[in-house]
Symmetry: C2
Subunit: 192 residues, 2 copies
Amino acid sequence: MYTNLLDHIRKYVALSETEAEVLLSFLRYRELKKKDWVLQEGQVCAYNFFILRGCLRLYVITEKGTEQIIQFGIDHWWISDYNSYDRQVPSGAAIQAVEPTEVAMIDRRDQAALFAQLPQLEAYFRIIFQRAYAASLMRIQFMTCLSGEERYLQFSRNFPEFVQRVPQYMLASYLGFTPEFLSKMRAKKKSR
Amino acid sequence: MYTNLLDHIRKYVALSETEAEVLLSFLRYRELKKKDWVLQEGQVCAYNFFILRGCLRLYVITEKGTEQIIQFGIDHWWISDYNSYDRQVPSGAAIQAVEPTEVAMIDRRDQAALFAQLPQLEAYFRIIFQRAYAASLMRIQFMTCLSGEERYLQFSRNFPEFVQRVPQYMLASYLGFTPEFLSKMRAKKKSR
DNA sequence: CGAAAATTTGACATGACTCAACTGGAGTGG
DNA sequence: CCACTCCAGTTGAGTCATGTCAAATTTTCG
C-alpha cells in the first residue's frame, strides 16, 4: 500500500525494514473520490499529505469569489497548507481531489515523535522542502518573466500528460489567466 | 560576529557552546560592499548564505535583457540558488548586495559533514525551508489574486521599512511591474 | 436522455506596458 | 567647491495583452 512512499524516502535516506514498520505505524491511509476535500477553508490543517496516486489541488477563494489554484500535487508529492500545519492556525485554503486519489497522512501531533524515532526523516523532509522551495521560486520567475501564452506553451511542453489530466479551467487558474484566454490560445495554435 | 546566526538557530533547536564551536569551524565570513556579487550568472552556486546584516537580491536576466528580481534576503534570512547549490549545476541567477552586507557562508562540500556532526541542523533547515516554501506560495497567491496596485499597497503596509530601504525600481521588479507604474501609483496616493 | 458543467467565440473594456522627454540628486574629478 | 555626468524617478501619450461579460456550443455524467 505504501510502497510508493517507502521507495520515495529511500531515494534520499536509508530506512531499514524495522524502521519502515515504525513509520507505517504513524501513517494513516485515505482514499478520495473526485471532489473530496482533505482540507476546507477555515480549518486548521492537521495533516501533511503524501499522494500515493492521483491528483490534489490547493486553492483559495479570491475577493471576487472565484477559485484561484495555488498548487497542484500529483503522485509522489507532499502537499499541505504548511503555514496552517506548522503554526496550527486556520487555513485560508482548501485542498481537494481532482481525480480519484490515495494519500498517506502524517498527523501534525505525531510529527515530533516520528522525527524523534526516525531522525533521518528530518533530512528527508529538509531535502523535500528545499526542492519545493526552489521549484516555487522557479514558478515565480516564470510568472513574472513570461507572458500568459509563453507560460502555457512552456508548461504544455514540460508536462504534456498533466495538461491532458486536469480540466482547462483549472490549468488556466494555476497558470494565472482566464479559461477564455486559454481557449483562445488553443484555437490559435490549432489553426497553425 | 556570528551571534545573529547562533541566536536564530537557537530559536528552533538546541545548540550547546561546544556545538556552536563546531558550527563556527564550518562557517566563512564575508563583508560585501554595495553591488558586490556573491554569485554570478553561469556559476555553480557553492554556498548557502546567511545574512548577518544587510540586504541581498537574487535576480535573473530576462529574454528582453532586463533584470528581474526573484527574491530579496535581509537580516536573518538564508539565501542561495538552491537548485544550483543542491545539484551543482550552473545557475541562471545572480546574487548581489543591495547595501553593505555581512554574510556567513556554508560551503556545499562541507554540508554533509556539518549535518553529520550536528544532526539538529537538519531539523533547523527543515523548518527554515518549510517556512520559506510556505512564504513563497503565499507570494504566488498575491501575484495571481491581487492587482499591481493592491500588491504594492499590501507590501508597503506589511514592510514599510523595507520600502524605504531599497530603490523603487528594484521594488517594482520584485512586485512584478514597471518602475513607471510604481511612480504613477505613488503620485496618485500622494494627491489623496 | 436531460441537466449541469466545461469550453468556445465575439465584442468590448482596461490595467499595465512602452517609449521618450524631462527633472532632480548623488557622486566624481578637476 | 563647482560643474558635469549619470542614474533614479516622474510624467504623458499611445498601445497591447489580457480580462469581462454574455451567448452559443459541446461534453460529461447521473
